[in-house]
């Protein structure tokens, strides 16, 4: 299956001895670098979305819009409800600090500003949210229960959209790399047209001729994609080191073991794609001749 990779010295001499000349390895290296960075970003976004989804899946909040009611009592009612695993009130001072970010320092000082009361709680699988809401309303009639996933939904939607954008970009770059390989293959065929004519003249088959170009382009593609992947790995390591200083927001944007395996396989996949495209392009071009 891979015997074409192991050409004899005589076969190698047929296309001359020049190595890594022409733009193909460089183009493949740039594509490989870009593909890896984008794929890593897409995978990290997927992980972030997963972490966020898991974190808020069972998280709800009791919200009393005008701050009416006794926060400690509401918390107590929530904690005692069946299926609730934890409940934490958000103190008025913390709420005022949050409001201050949007409304300015007056929000923290003004006694006229109604501050909503908020109790965050997590539930197990057996929780009955309707019953919890009824119990809370007995204490604070305006209270309502809000799922965290509703408030963070648009963010998750954006993250998933970005994942698909990353996937699309990987496909587009792979397509661009393939187009570059087709051009390189055609260029190589033009350069070696007289050699090909002689080979055909002495009875070489298209497959024999194709093997020479396929091997050359496979080597160029492998060198280019490994070099691009190496550069991308350095950049990703620097980004990861920087991310550890970026606080909690970046905490979920990490790459798992399987992600690293996928990233490691991408240069090989790019090489395989380039080789297949080169073989197809060369065979198609040779069929134009007699």
């Amino acid at each position: 299956m891979f015997d074409w990779l192991f050409a004899s010295p005589a076969e190698r001499r047929l296309l001359g001895q020049q190595k890594l000349r022409g733009p193909t390895p460089w183009v493949i290296a740039i594509m490989s670098f870009s593909i890896l960075i984008i794929a890593a970003t897409g995978l990290a976004l997927a992980n972030t979305a997963g972490v966020l989804t898991r974190a808020i899946e069972a998280r709800y909040a009791v919200e009393v819009p005008n701050g009416g009611g006794d926060l400690a009592r509401i918390t107590d009612v929530v904690r005692r409800s069946p299926g609730v695993t934890s409940a934490e009130p958000v103190s008025e001072s913390d709420m005022r600090k949050t409001l201050e970010r949007w409304l300015g320092p007056a929000a923290a000082a003004s006694g006229d500003l109604p501050v909503p009361a908020l109790v965050n709680f997590d539930v197990g699988a057996d929780a009955n949210l309707g019953a919890i809401e009824q119990s809370v309303r007995a204490v604070a009639p305006d209270a309502r229960i809000v799922a965290h996933r509703e408030s963070i939904g648009p963010l998750l939607h954006s993250l998933r959209l970005l994942q698909w954008v990353a996937f699309g970009l990987v496909l587009m770059l792979s397509g661009a790399a393939s187009a570059a390989v087709v051009l390189a293959a055609r260029g190589a065929l033009d350069t070696h047209r007289s050699t090909i004519e002689v080979m055909h003249g002495v009875g070489a088959t298209d497959v024999q001729v194709t093997r020479l170009f396929q091997r050359r382009i496979a080597i160029d593609a492998l060198v280019g994609s490994v070099a691009g992947a190496g550069a991308a790995a350095v950049v990703l390591l620097l980004l990861t080191a920087g991310a550890s200083f970026a606080g909690e927001l970046m905490g979920g944007a990490t790459l798992s073991g399987p992600d690293l395996v996928i990233l490691a396989l991408l240069p090989l996949a790019l090489t395989a794609l380039a080789t297949w495209v080169a073989r197809t392009a060369v065979l198609a071009a040779l069929r134009q001749a007699l």
Partner: protein, 230 residues
């Protein structure tokens, strides 16, 4: 060996360069193809060595109808034909040795089976000491001899040569014709396109095919119905 029936050839949408070719080449025959420049000698040779398909008519080679044969089938027939091109068509970046060895390697010969025959052939054409030289460093005559060595290394059943002695001196021309004659005696059918009437006279038993303005001149009908086996 070869049968041409009502064969015509045109390039693109141009006029026919070959018209109504009807002839047979007998197995083991020796033929000289002559005619003025532009008469269609090279085009006829291209049909013979399967570098071109006829635009009409039928060509049979080695007993097989090849005019419309699938292109995948052609390489095995090309391996049975040796070709000496007018412009040599040597691969410039390969040594004389590798150029001569090419048909053997294409046919799947192993390196150990290539060395001996190639050295022997290079010695025969007087280039034993030039085996590692590349074509650009060889004279026209030397390149011609490498091209001839490449054409005959495989002991082809059909040898087609386009002006093979055009770039060599009289002595070498005689030696090359001697090689062609020797191959012919071993059963190879030889077709040589040439302007050199001296060669024709010096090759006993050879038959002349004259082509003018794309048409074969065969007043006696001997080419259409050769005396030997077709």
């Amino acid at each position: 060996m070869a049968e041409f029936d009502s064969v015509g050839l045109r390039y693109g949408t141009g006029a026919e360069v070959l018209r109504d070719l009807d002839f047979r080449l007998a197995n083991g025959g020796f033929y000289f193809l002559t005619g003025p420049s532009g008469a269609g000698k090279t085009s006829l040779l291209k049909l013979l060595y399967l570098a071109q398909r006829p635009t009409r008519g039928r060509i049979k080679l080695f007993g097989e109808e090849l005019s419309e044969a699938p292109r995948d089938a052609l390489p095995q027939f090309r391996r049975r034909i040796g070709v000496v091109f007018q412009d040599f068509r040597l691969i410039r970046h390969l040594s004389a040795f590798d150029n001569v060895a090419l048909p053997l390697r294409v046919a799947g010969a192993k390196d150990e089976d290539v060395e001996g025959p190639v050295r022997e052939m290079l010695a025969w054409v007087g280039l034993a000491d030039r085996s590692s030289a590349r074509p650009p460093t060889l004279s026209g005559g030397e390149q011609q001899r490498v091209a001839i060595a490449r054409a005959v290394i495989n002991r082809p059943e059909l040898l087609v040569a386009d002006e093979p002695t055009g770039n060599v001196d009289a002595d070498m021309a005689n030696r090359l014709m001697g090689l062609f004659t020797a191959l012919n005696r071993l059963g190879t059918t030889v077709v040589v396109a040439t302007h050199d009437v001296g060669l024709i006279g010096a090759t006993p038993g050879a038959q002349m095919i004259r082509i003018e303005q794309g048409t074969l001149t065969d007043p006696t009908g001997v080419l259409k119905h050769p005396p030997g086996r077709a």
